[in-house]
Structure formats: C-alpha cells, structure tokens
Homo-oligomer: 782 residues x 2
C-alpha cells in the first residue's frame, strides 16, 4: 500500500497512520473555515455536519449515510470467466425474469394503488358521513369535535408510524427516487419498512383531511415495490433466489425502479402514458428505448389491474368506494372556438401561474428549513408538529365554510341538491333544506372530490367568487405548511387544488366576456400551477389529458404550461430539484456548470490517494479499509511484476471484503493467478448486495498471522476502468462521468515517467459545494 | 508526420508513399477475400463497392459519401479563448435564437404540412370528382383512362423530380433522419433541393393514388426545414448570420433536427404529443430533458398553426379541402364493457398482426433489393418503374371494385347515400341509384378517407367480408411494391390501411359473438400492424389516441401493441432499422454486441496510424490530407519539445485546412504559440460547416516553397480527447463512444515506454461487418 507521493520503499503502517492523522487535521480546519459562509440557500446538511462533500443526506428529516451507485461493468477476470461460461439458458432465464418482474411490479403497484384508494374512500367517507349526519341534527360542536378528533387521531397515527418505524417515508419521496435513479443510494429509502409506512402513512394522512396527495407517495411506493421484488423478498425462497442473482447489480436495479416509479404514477392518476412520461421527464437520469418499452408494459398492467378492480367495485362490493375513487375527471366540456381575448386571458393565466408557482417553491423551501429544526428534536416533536397542523387544517375546513352564505339549489340538475351521500357538488352544511354551502362543498370533501367539483363544466355559477378566493388562500397556505410534516405527503394534489381554484376564479371573473367554461379554466389553472412548481411539461400535459379525458384542450394546456414554466424558471428551480439539493443528495446534473470549463480534472481530485500493489499484504488492505471510507482503490503493478509502475486497474471495497473473507492467502509475494480464485468463488459471490446488506469490515475475522501474508488482487481488479488525463477540463470529465453512470473515474498523468495514476474522481468531487469550496474565486464567475 | 511503427528518424515522403501503396494492396486483397461471404441479408453496398467499413451509403437509390458527426467539444486553445471571452449578451443571443428557431421550425413545418394536405385534397379530389362524373354518365372506359392517365402523369412528374433533382428525397426519409440523429451525415439528405422535391414529390405521389403516405416524408421535410433554418438560409442575410454562428456545430444541429422531425410527425398526424414521443422513441439517439421541452414547444406551435389554418378553411376558402383534410378520425364509439372472449380475440389479433408485420418487413427488404438493381440503371428506368407501379395501382383500384356487388343503401343514415361529393362512405361506382359499391368506397378514395371509413363506428354491415378480403390483399401487396420506387413514400399509411382492414375483417367475423364495434377492431388492427412493422410502442399508442380522440381504448391498444411487437421481434428487426442497415448507414446501436466482450479495443484499430508532430512541416500535412480520408490525426510532441514522446491531442482535418489556408508558416521548427493564431483567426473561423460546405484540399493554394516551412499545430489541437486503454474490452469502448457521441476515440497503450498512441477508433471500427470481417470466427459466437 502506497501513498503515491511517497517513495517506493517506505510503506510502514506507522507513516501511513501519521499521514492520515494529518489529513484529518487538515480536514477539520478546512471545515472550520467553511463555517462562515453559511447562507439560507445552502443544503441543510452543511450546518449540521460540516461535511462539504455530502457523504450523508437528510432522508425524511433524518440524517443517513449515502452511497453512490455504479453502472460501470467491472471487467475483471471473474466477470470475463462468467461471461464466457454464460449459457443460452441463462440468457433466457434473464429475459423471462426481466419481464416477469415488470409484470409483478405492475400487478403489485396496481393492487396497492387500488387498496390505498379503497381505504381512503372508506375512512374519509365514514368520517365525512358522520360529520354531516351530526350537522343535520344541528349538533355543530359535536360535529366539529368528531371531525377534528378523527383527523387528529389519523394524523398522529401516521406521524408515529413515520417517526418511529421509517423516517425515510416522510414527504413526497419523488426527490429520493429521482436521486436514486441519478445514482445516489441513501440508506433505507427503498427498504421494506419504508414501503409499509409509505402505504399506511399515506392512507392515514390523506384520510385525515390534510391538504396533501397520495401521488408522490405512490411513486415512492412503486419504487419500493420494484426494489423489494428485485431482491426476491427474502433469502428464504431459494427457487427464485438463484434466478434473481442476475439482478444483483445497480444497473438492473435502476431499470426495475424506473419501471416502479412509472407504475406508481400510472396507479395514482390512472394515467399509463403519463406514468411513462413522468419517469422519463422527471425521475430517470438515464434512458434507452428498450426501457421505454418495459416501462410501458408495466404501466399497461397497472391500467388493466385498476380497470378490473374498479369494475368489480361497481357491483357495490367496496363499501363507500363509489365513483369518487381514483381521480378521473371526465370534463368533456365541448370547447367552443376561442377568441383572441380568451387567448390573452390564457396567456395571463400562465404568467401568473408561473409567478405563484415560483413563490410556492420559495416558501416550501423556507418552511422546510424551519421545520427541520423542529423535526430534529426527535420523534415526539415530529408528532406534535403534525397534530398542530392537523388541528389547524380541521379548523380551516370546518370553520371557514361558516363565512359563506347559503345558495339556493339551481333548478335544472341531474344530481341531488343538497347532497345526501358522501361526495357531491352540493354540501348542505348549516343551510336550510333546498340550499347548499358552496365553500363546504370544497372543504368538507376529499381533495379528489374538491378537484372534481372545480373541474366540472356547465356549472358556471355554482361557486361564488368570494368562496373561491377564501378557498384559494386557505389551500395555498395549508399546502405550504403541510409539506414537511412527518407523514407521506405528495405535492401534486395541493398544487392542482390551488391551481384549479385560481383558474376557476379567473374563469368566473371572465364569465361575462368569455365563451369558455369556468371548468376549463380550472384545468388550465391547474396546468399553470403544475408547470410553475414542478417544471414538467410533457408529462403533466399527458397526465392532465388522461385525467380529464379531453384531447381537444391539448393546445391550450401546452400553451399555459410553456408560459408558466418559462416564467417560473426565471425565478428559481423546480420544487423537486430544490428538495434534492436541500437534502444534500449529490445529484449530478445533465449539463456541466460553466465554471467547470476553467478547471481541469487534476484540480479537484482528492489527495492523498491510497493504492495497492498487484499482490498486497493483507494487513495493509485491512488497514486501508478501516482508515478510509473509499469504495475504490487503484491497483499498481511494480517492478518485480512489471517493467515500470503500471496501472492494473481499480478494485472495489466490496470485492476486497469478499476476497479477504475467502482467506486464500499466500506466505510469499507471488501471483497466484485467476484459477485459484475461481476454485473458491463463483461469479455471483461478488455480485453487489443492496445498500447495507453486503459484507462489512467487522464481519471479517482475520488472524494476526494472516495479516503478514499476501493476496493476489489481479483476479478481482477491473482491468479497464474509464480514465481521463489530468489536463482534461472538468466539464468534459463531468460529462463522461454522468453519461456513463460511473462511480469512480481514474485520473492519469499527462506526461510519462510519473506514478501511473494521479487520483480518483467520485461523484462528490463534481459537486458545486466541493469545487467552490476549493476555488472560492469561482463564485464570481458563476 | 510519422507512422508510429517507423523509427523516429525516417520521415521522408517516399517511404510514406511506399507504405501507403502497400496498405492499398492489403486492402484490396482484403476486400477480395470478402467477396465470397455475400448473402441476401447483407448491406447492399458491400456488393457494389467492396467497402466493408461503409464510408459511403445508399441514399435514395444513389450512392453517396457519408460523414460521421462529432458531438465532442474540441477543447483547443481557440475554444478556451472563446469560452473565456464569451459575454453575457452572447449567451442571451444564443438562448433567444434557440427558441426563435424552434418557433420558426414549428411555424414552417405547420405551414408546409397544411399546404401538403391542401394540395393533395384538391388534386386528388379533382381527379376523383372527374372520374365519378364520367362514371355517372356510364363512360367507364373514358373514366378509367382519365383516372389512370392523371395518376401516371402525377407519378411520372414526381419520379422525374426525384430522379433528376434530388435522389435523396425518394423513400420515407425516416431511416436517414434516424441515422443523422445517430451521428451519420450522408451528402444532401438534408439539402434544400431534397426539401423541395420531398414536398412536391410527396404531393404528386399521394395525389397519384399510390398506396403510400405523406407521414414519413413529413418527418424528413421537418428535418430539412430545421437544417435550412439553422443554416440561416444563405450567406446573403448578414444580419442573422452573425447570430447563427452559434449553431455551426453538430450538437446544436442535432437538436434542431430532432425538433424538426418531431414537428413533422406533429404536422402529419396533428398529434403534438405523439410527435414528441416519436422523436424520442424512434428518431433520436441522444436525449435530455431540456430538449424534450424545446421539442414540445415546436410541436405545440405546429398544432396551433394547423388549427388556425383549418379554422380558416372551414369558411370554404380552400377549394375541395373539406373535412377530409388532415387525418383526424373521431371514432368515439362508446366502448361497452368487453368480455373475456373479446380479450382472447384481441390477443389473437395482436399475434397475427405481429406475424403479418414481420412478413411485411421481410418482403419490403427483398423487394427493395430487387428494385435497387432497376434503380441502379439510371433515371429513366426509375421513372419507368414508377409508371409501371402506377398503372398497376390504377388497374387494381379501378378494376377490383367491379368484383363487388351493389349493396342497397341502409335506411337510417345521417349522410348521403350514394355519396355525391368527393369523400364519403358510399361510392356509387357502377351501381344503380340508391345502391353503393363498398369496395369502390375504399379504393376510389384518398387513403385518409379509406382509413376513416374503416375506422368508422356504428356501421357494422357497411362492408361485406369478401370486399374486405379483396381490399386487404390488394393493399398489403400494393404497399409492398410501392415502397422503394423513386418518389417520397411513407410507410405509415399502407400499414395503417392494411392493418385497419385486417382488424375490420376480424371484427366483422366476430360480429355475432362480440359486443365490440368493427370500427374499434379496425383501430386495434392498425395498432397491431404498426407494432409489427415499426416496433414502436408508446409513440404509436399516443399517435393513435390523438388520431382517434378516444382515450378509453388505451389499455386495449397497449395490449395489442405489446403482443404484436413481441411476436414480430422474434422474427426480424423493425422496418426502419432494416432499411438503415441495408443502405449501409453505419448506425451505432445503443447496446454493444455480445461478441464485443471477447475483443479489446486494440484488436480493431485500423493500422497504420498517421500522426503529426506538434510543429509539423506543411508539405507533410498536405500529403497526409491528400493521401488519407482521415478526419482526425493525433499530434505527438517529441524530444526537442518534451522529455519523451507525448500525446498532445487530436487535430481535425477541417481545422487543419483552415489553418493552412491562413498561411502563418515559419521557416524554423519552432512553437509560435496561440497568440499568433488568435491574431489571424476568430473562434468561429473554425466552426464546423455543413457537410460538403467546408474548405476542401483543392481550395488551398500552397506554394512550393511553403511546403518546406513549418506550422505550429498546438493552438488548434484538442488537448484532451477521450481515450481508452488498448486492453479495454471493445464493448466498454463502444458504450463510451456511443454515449458521448464521439467521432474519434484515441486508444493509448497499456504499458509505458511505447509510442503514446496506438490508434484511433472511429464509428466504422465498431460496425459488425468490420469486426466480423477481421475476426470471422466470432460468427459462431454471435
């Protein structure tokens, strides 16, 4: 083992430990210098850990270690051996399994999505039915206490699940899935416990009447299901286990989780094409045509499952699950030809939608930072915060309708007025018979039903303008304060809800001068808000089309989305990108930052480099593994084995641990060759386990006399890692790193005669915080 | 200049020319050995040119040179200088221009698409009106002669345009656009003359009643428009020229052409979302989120333009352009809940659709190979072939309806029967009043109207089963023989037409046992055929949804597409991939072939390598440029300038030509530095011109005394080309090459002490024909 700045001979452990101590000293002083440059827009983690290269992240209000994923194929001898011996039947097994898994992911996500809706419809329906029965009996206080009490109990239960069982399940989950698909694996974000809490926490949260959605959690749920199925459930099922070994690598896992997140969107919105596009536009960082097809297959399965289950429920077998279940808004208002004045109105709708969206993103960021201090204090304060917000929400949704006056029911109606059952456009509330309270129709309903009411066409005067104003302000503010509490909470529904109200306000105001339906304006308003916060275009457009089942409004939706996204982009980033950054997840952007052109790869490599000889002393390996957290080490052959120092390749920590566990050591420094290793190990012994599941250094039990023995690293060394020359611009190196999905990028010297490797670039070396920390003067070039 | 196997000293031109002669000898003997391995599935070019590495391609029946595109940023001194001096205002200009170009592409493609439809509707409408008027007067022979005569004249005119003006405009154009977006530029495929012929040839071809579509040509038209606008039209417009210089590189051109091809699909089908997905799934090889948005903007503009123009035409200002213009089939048949029996029928529909699609692809391939011998003989034989097919088509469409018996008009109809005007479901043909000929309704109509008739719902007994059988066989065969003649011809319409007939046959047969409408079966049949031939899934699905405006059939369409694609994939490749391969376009697949794992990069590099010194003699450069067709040369610094031979980087042919044209030579071998070059050149002097537009070697006028002078190559050398070690597996090198969109990939030696570069990999070195030519034993591993 060898720090390459040392000379060849001096390899004693003492000097190495000394070197390490000095590095640690340097680092701590480095971080202390960093302290002064804190600001409100920085990742939350910097304040907590003083670690600028973000080896840990905040996942669901907790700090946890993260790992980079590696999509490079490590071409070592074992891999080559495995490749040559791979039989036709194995390739067939792989293809069959790939499609079976896609099918299973679709089935499971479809069922979970349906179960989620069924539970919400029944719990929330029961709650609302009970409240309205009490209201009819004029027992208003009891009604409020019942309503608020059920909400608080549901909220507290969800928050407790989240806080004690799986903190990673809090929040939307889309930022975490997005980061995973970019190559960042944070501990437990896709664990079975997270899946469990995500499903039941989401049911509780939505039933508790919060202004939040089940769409984001469904995406996370889909990803968790995909991860779980890819692991084969548990080690107990030996039959599938042998087949599933093909999926024990980051590349196949990534594909499965892409399918899972698309399935999640498809299940949440009943939008199979929208799901594919969402995965493509927002979630995935890498994409290829073959994956498009597999994702499409998964979402098609979801659509079929949902359709069959809804068909089954039409028979009245599902309790209170009526037409309300699974949002699907048949707007189908015939669009009359729109005038120029309408177009101008729509342009303004888009512009202000963008502004509101940007403000929303800014405020979400600030509120999340504030909440993080509360959530830091532990599980009880998380639950307390959730209960506070729940009480606030209950007060709003029960209290504000008293401000609205009663409206007499319109004469020519197909539906009951006032509404008797659970859902419907005309809630009675405090009004005399034959009248309805339009604000209660929005507040005392599930969010899905409220959106359906807002989108409904041919109901121009159902909501008066003051009602819409009150509802807009309440929903916009409640949506802001709700995201960030410790329950699974999606952002789609709050954004659609406030956007639809905003659109309907505009539509109602324009009523006298426009031929367009206020329901159509509500759809356009929702599009404007979605464009302004999430900055998605094609997928939002297709999701809205599939929700409203009206293709003719496509050009208008497109126009609004383009305008609102453009406007909002001039203020800040999309809400998911913002959350990814705030959580400290080291996300690699698709494009290199401009200042990276002025740096070269050699400028940012982390020194000092720890490298191994081709045949290395066991003790040195163990020491290096113990002292560093590095996951890849260069292997260098030196004069007895080669003419001059020569880079053999890169060896991974996980492979080293497996090799050491095998204990095929030799007394002498001699090459044993690959044959020896093949006798001991099969190719899949080195397959990559999921995060936290692989061997750990503590699992090794190396005897003292073995520490002085040698082991040949050649067979497990990746002989051809991707390399760049130290003088390559950092921007070009970043493109290489990102496009190929690397975990380690070796930097080699430009001129001959120097040690054969300068350093290793990892994901953290490309992070703006790291680079700007090293070169503060670049801030001005930014 | 230096062949690296030579020793340092011997650099005389004689020895180099000797070397070259020996290479040429080797190559010719190599190609002669290749001759024996010909087969029917090989690229056509191999037979013609004996060039296995396909430096030329067949574009529209003519052989033409091709060039690889280069998406790597060549980081030489000039680029760095330019980057540092780039001002905020220039970045702003670039962004404004980017969006303006997207807008212009959308507008232009929308207008052209509308013009295309308008012309076809009027020409074909006039022809059909004239024919039916003559038929009503019982002048059957005159009617046939008029009908056939007009067809032949239109066909001959289109073929003449194609054969004499722009041979590249023949065929669909989608394979060429796909290859361009993969990085292959064949001469004149995006030229203004091609655009002209594509537009007018397509109008002629569609009006002539061929079984072909305008959809493929529209994609090519969109790409041509994008290319033309990106070039700024001509050098005359100096105002835009200075701004457009930012787009003089392959990367920005690629983005524009992606937008253009999406706009083409959007204009052809009025399917903006489908256009984006088509560009993503089928056309583009590289993709990123930002491009998704720009493409979406372009297609939105197309949709708005088309909508406005159709609105204008509703006023009756467009001649015969009625509801027939621009396919848009409002099926909107209410889907009754389907039974298990229906599902089984649909599964079989998908399976046989896949089989028919695979057979179609196989036969298209064989027929194209046969036609290529005819088309080879020159323009007159191309025109003759077209006229023959035209007469055959006329005979079928006028002759076959005589086989059908007359059907009495159904009683309860909203539309006229028999049809009086141009389009309509009930053509009178030879029948007495009050009757219609159902086969004539399909044949004597535009293809768009025939599809609309087949898709129409609630018309269960309009077509009898024998009619559908005759039409299916005729259309399937005519579609096959039509593709490949020298006119712009798309494959979408023939495939949809025969698929819809096939589906309607199944629907009619199942009529007694199924509740589903035969019109719905026609849509599903079209989906099955599209899946079976083109192998697209998501985009076809969305295009069909946007065409039929019925979202509820989505799960069924998905199911059919998945089945038919899976079935067809087990037989052969998609039709566009097949044509790309046959034309000899060196397309880089997204995944590496399995046998590439058994080879290393060093195995396939083309020897011998020609390299330059950092300061090189002008005469040697000129000679190397003259003797080789290489586009990149490594630059190596040698002992007077460095300690040991050291790779400086890569210099491009186009940059060398500009440098030589500048004539800043020195008498002595000395480094002049970058300053000298900056005085003479601006950054954009080295910007890449379009294919065939850059400087040529013949444009240089180097005097004899200048030949012995020296020029410093350092300022124009790309200092950090991407490199791989010679021992890296070819599969990994291919992934790097493809993902980064490279043109040259430098292979460096593994061990120190050897010349600093082993060779350069180009696109042709990764082609299966080249590799399997070098290593024939790999055929067995395939």
């Amino acid at each position: 083992m060898d720090h390459h700045h040392h000379e060849q001979g001096s390899k004693d452990i003492e000097s190495m430990e000394g070197a390490w101590r000095s590095i640690e000293r340097n680092e701590s002083s480095f971080y202390e210098n960093e302290k002064e440059s804190e600001s409100a827009r920085e990742p939350l983690l910097r304040k907590r850990t003083l670690n600028t290269t973000s080896q840990i992240a905040i996942v669901g209000a907790n700090v946890c270690p993260i790992e980079s994923l590696d999509y490079e194929i490590a071409e070592n001898d074992l891999f080559k051996q495995d490749w040559r011996s791979r039989k036709k039947v194995q390739i067939f097994q792989y293809i069959v399994l790939k499609w079976t898994l896609a099918l299973l992911i679709g089935l499971a996500t479809g069922f979970v999505g349906f179960f989620n809706n069924l539970a919400v419809e029944n719990i929330a329906g029961f709650k609302l039915l009970l409240t309205s029965t009490l209201m009819l009996e004029h027992r208003y206080i009891t009604a409020f206490l019942t309503y608020g009490g059920i909400n608080v109990v549901l909220a507290a239960a969800s928050a407790a699940l989240c806080a004690y069982v799986a903190p990673a399940a809090a929040g939307s989950g889309i930022p975490e899935v997005k980061a995973y698909l970019n190559g960042v694996d944070a501990y437990s974000i896709l664990a079975p416990s997270t899946l469990f809490v995500k499903i039941f926490g989401s049911i509780g949260g939505v039933s508790a009447g919060f202004v939040l959605g089940k769409e984001g959690p469904m995406v996370h749920t889909g990803a968790c299901i995909a991860n779980l199925l890819g692991q084969g459930g548990s080690r107990k099922y030996h039959l599938t286990w042998t087949w599933l070994r093909y999926f024990k690598n980051d590349r196949d896992r990534r594909d499965l989780i892409t399918c899972g997140s698309a399935a999640g969107v498809a299940a949440a919105f009943r939008a199979p094409v929208g799901g594919v596009l969402f995965a493509l536009e927002e979630a995935a960082s890498w994409w290829r045509s073959a994956l498009l097809w597999r994702t499409f297959f998964t979402t098609a399965v979801v659509a079929v499952v949902l359709r069959s289950l809804i068909q089954y429920c039409r028979g009245g077998n599902c309790g209170l699950f009526g037409k309300g279940g699974l949002i699907m808004f048949d707007v189908s208002s015939s669009i009359s030809t729109y005038s120029t004045a309408d177009l101008i109105a729509i342009v303004f709708l888009g512009i202000f939608g963008g502004v509101f969206g940007a403000i929303f993103n800014y405020l979400v960021d600030r509120i999340l930072r504030t909440y993080s201090f509360i959530n830091d204090k532990g599980a009880p304060s998380k639950i307390l915060l959730t209960i506070t917000i729940s009480i606030l929400t209950s007060c709003c949704s029960y209290g504000l309708p008293w401000l609205a006056s009663c409206t007499p029911c319109p004469a020519d109606l197909h539906e009951q007025c006032p509404t008797i059952g659970r859902s419907g456009n005309f809630k009675n509330f405090q009004c005399p018979p034959g009248h309805y309270n339009d604000l209660a129709s929005l507040f005392l309903n599930t969010n899905d039903d409220a959106i359906r009411n807002l989108f409904s066409g041919g109901t121009d005067n159902e909501f008066c303008i003051s009602t819409l104003f009150i509802f807009f302000i309440a929903v916009y503010c409640l949506g802001l304060v709700t995201y960030g509490i410790a329950i699974p909470s999606g952002l789609f529904i709050p954004v659609i809800l406030s956007g639809a109200t905003y659109g309907r306000i505009i539509g109602t105001l324009l009523g006298p001068v426009s031929d367009l339906d206020p329901g159509l304006f509500a759809v356009l308003g929702a599009a404007a808000f979605l464009g302004g916060t999430m900055r998605m275009t094609v997928s939002v457009c297709v999701i809205l089309l599939e929700l409203t089942n009206d293709l003719l409004m496509l050009p208008l939706v497109m126009l609004v989305l383009l305008i609102s996204k453009t406007v909002a982009d001039s203020f800040n980033k999309g809400v998911y990108d913002q959350i990814v950054k705030m959580k400290g997840l080291p996300f690699m952007e698709a494009h290199a930052e401009p200042y990276m052109r002025n740096l070269v790869a050699g400028d940012v490599v982390s020194a000092p480099l720890i490298s191994f000889s081709g045949v290395e002393k066991v003790g040195d390996i163990v020491l290096a593994l113990r002292l560093t957290g590095h996951n890849g080490f260069p292997v260098i052959d030196e004069p007895p084995f080669s003419d001059a120092p020569e880079l053999v390749g890169l060896v991974l920590r996980s492979h080293l641990l497996v090799l050491l566990k095998g204990k095929r050591f030799t007394k002498e420094r001699a090459r044993t060759g690959a044959g020896e290793v093949f006798q001991r190990f099969g190719a899949f012994d080195f397959a990559k386990a999921g995060l936290g599941k692989g061997l750990k250094l503590e699992d090794l039990n190396i005897l003292q006399e073995e520490m002085d023995m040698f082991v040949d690293l050649h067979p497990i060394t990746n002989r051809s890692p991707y390399t760049v020359v130290e003088t390559m611009s950092l921007a070009k190196a970043a493109v290489l790193f990102r496009e190929l999905g690397l975990r380690h990028l070796c930097v080699v010297p430009k001129t001959p005669g120097r040690p054969p490797i300068v350093g290793i670039l990892t994901r953290h070396d490309f992070m703006p915080e790291h680079i700007l920390g090293l070169f503060p003067h670049l801030h001005s070039h930014k």
